[in-house]
């Protein structure tokens, strides 16, 4: 499903953030990506979603080499992913409902059907009764869950979560992990980055450990 072969990434003018990374993530697998701050976790996730392009090496997603993909086809590739960003990227000029409905609007989704889907997604993360509020009125953990709702609303086959439990206490992060495992059970492929070693110990999934830009098995 996701295959990295000898991928290197260097930002313009910088050092090599990722060095010779190779791995494969199978369909419906749930994988953790660990590493210290600055190890290159976000960079790796951005490479999968073609937000950044690799300096060398190839990346296959669903058998498609995404470093060769044309700009015009990029939007359609991205629709396969549910993205949870480290910096949330919520829009504070509109309601929670409007935030979650955005991915459906982008795919020209039928209006009544999308309202149903938005409510289902909000229900899943426990924000159903807040749909008219502005995301600014949400706590950190609630905003994190709103990001999840937006990422899952178009039922992606791959969920990429960048530190979804970032600065949350263990109770909250446990809740969020519960949500992720429910997706895992229905066959969604998940890649979740974290620097929280404690959380990794709790869940015995596969872990890709990044250290100084290299993968340590």
């Amino acid at each position: 499903m996701i295959q990295f072969s000898n991928v290197c990434k260097r930002y313009p003018g910088g050092i090599d953030v990722l060095k010779n990374i190779s791995f494969t993530i199978g369909e419906a697998e749930m994988v953790f990506l660990s590493g210290h701050s600055g190890a290159g976790k976000s960079t790796l996730l951005k490479l999968i979603a073609a937000i950044e392009r690799p300096s060398s090496g190839s990346i296959l997603v669903n058998g498609q080499n995404i470093s060769l993909i044309k700009d015009g086809a990029l939007p359609f590739l991205r629709r396969n992913f549910g993205l949870i960003f480290q910096d949330h990227k919520l829009l504070y000029d509109r309601s929670i409902f409007e935030n979650v409905v955005l991915p459906l609007k982008i795919c020209d989704f039928d209006h009544r059907e999308s309202a149903k889907r938005v409510r289902a997604a909000l229900d899943k993360v426990g924000l159903l009764n807040r749909e008219k509020a502005n995301p600014i009125a949400l706590s950190g953990g609630e905003q994190q869950r709103l990001c999840i709702a937006r990422a899952i609303v178009n039922r992606p086959s791959i969920l990429l979560a960048d530190e979804p439990t970032g600065n949350l206490d263990t109770e909250y992060s446990g809740e969020i992990m519960k949500i992720f495992r429910s997706f895992h059970q229905v066959g969604v492929t998940l890649v979740i980055s974290t620097h929280d070693e404690g959380m990794l110990g709790q869940f015995n999934g596969r872990v890709l450990a990044l250290k100084n830009g290299e993968l340590h098995p």
Partner: protein
């Protein structure tokens, strides 16, 4: 197809909503565009009115036909009939030579000189009012009449017509130049409005890109906004022109009453009005398109 239509209606409605979410600045934008457009459009309306008036009342050219001295009564009847049947001739008035002499006496005050003449030197004549008004057709008519028998001389006074045509052409040119300049201003206004919108919606654009929006999807609302703003600006221009004409007409009636004339300024034809709206909408779209293609690519998601 139905989905496509619904989609576009939605985008249009949200552009409308965006428009009313900042009512004051939207209003000012519309006014600026409206005023800019109303200048050349108003001048055009005036020009059309002057053209109408001139053609009807002032510059209807006339052709004088001078018959040869040996014209008989039968010839005159024939010429009379021919003139009446001619498609390009509206009215033809016969002026007998005696009447012409009489007129000459009265208008020039040379009674003594003329009274001293042994016989009347003037020929019979026709004053012809043609139905046509453009210069080249009039010339053709003149040459045709020239060839008729017993017609000695044909005199066509084209001066007025030619002067008027030249003036109108000049006016039209001036309006064209002004329209182009102000059309450019409209494009610039829209360009700037859209630029500001893109800046304030930077985050939305960025997120939309990240979650799979196509360029067309991102561009569409801005293009519609430009279209809408242009359209409303055109409507404003039309409104300004209508009000101005109304006010001018009420003043004009006082003036024309004094001269016991009857003349009102007319609104542009429906086609001209539609053309104005269409043009302003197109220019708005163009400004938005330029702005979008200039600014959107700078927003790259990170």
């Amino acid at each position: 197809m139905k989905n496509w239509l619904i989609l576009h209606v939605h985008v249009f409605l949200s552009a409308l909503r965006k428009f009313f979410s900042t009512p004051l600045s939207s209003l000012f934008n519309i006014l600026v565009i409206g005023i800019a457009l109303s200048l050349p459009a108003g001048m055009y309306v005036m020009l059309k009115n002057i053209q109408n008036l001139a053609e009807q009342k002032i510059a209807s050219p006339q052709i004088s036909l001078f018959l040869s001295m040996d014209t008989s009564k039968d010839d005159i009847t024939r010429i009379d009939r021919q003139l009446k049947q001619h498609a390009a001739v509206g009215q033809a008035r016969f002026v007998p030579r005696e009447q012409a002499l009489e007129q000459l006496k009265q208008t020039t005050g040379l009674e003594d000189v003329i009274g001293g003449l042994e016989h009347n030197p003037l020929p019979d004549a026709y004053i012809v009012h043609p139905k046509i008004s453009d210069a080249s057709a009039l010339k053709t008519l003149k040459h045709e009449l020239q060839r008729w028998p017993k017609i000695e001389h044909v005199q066509l006074d084209l001066d007025w017509v030619q002067k008027l045509e030249a003036i109108l052409k000049f006016g039209l040119m001036a309006i064209l130049i002004l329209s182009m300049l102000l059309g450019f201003a409209l494009v610039a206004v829209t360009f700037n409005t859209i630029r500001l919108q893109i800046l304030t919606q930077r985050e939305e654009i960025e997120v939309s890109r990240l979650i799979g929006a196509t360029s067309a999807f991102i561009r569409r609302p801005f293009l519609y906004f430009g279209l809408l703003q242009g359209l409303l600006g055109g409507a404003a221009a039309w409104f300004i022109i209508s009000i101005s004409l109304y006010m001018l007409n009420s003043n004009l009636s006082q003036l024309t009453d004094l001269y016991s004339a009857n003349f009102t300024l007319h609104l542009p034809s429906t086609e001209d009005q539609l053309a104005l709206l269409l043009l302003s909408a197109c220019l708005g779209w163009m400004g938005a398109w330029l702005s979008v293609s200039q600014h959107l690519w700078k927003i790259e998601p990170r």
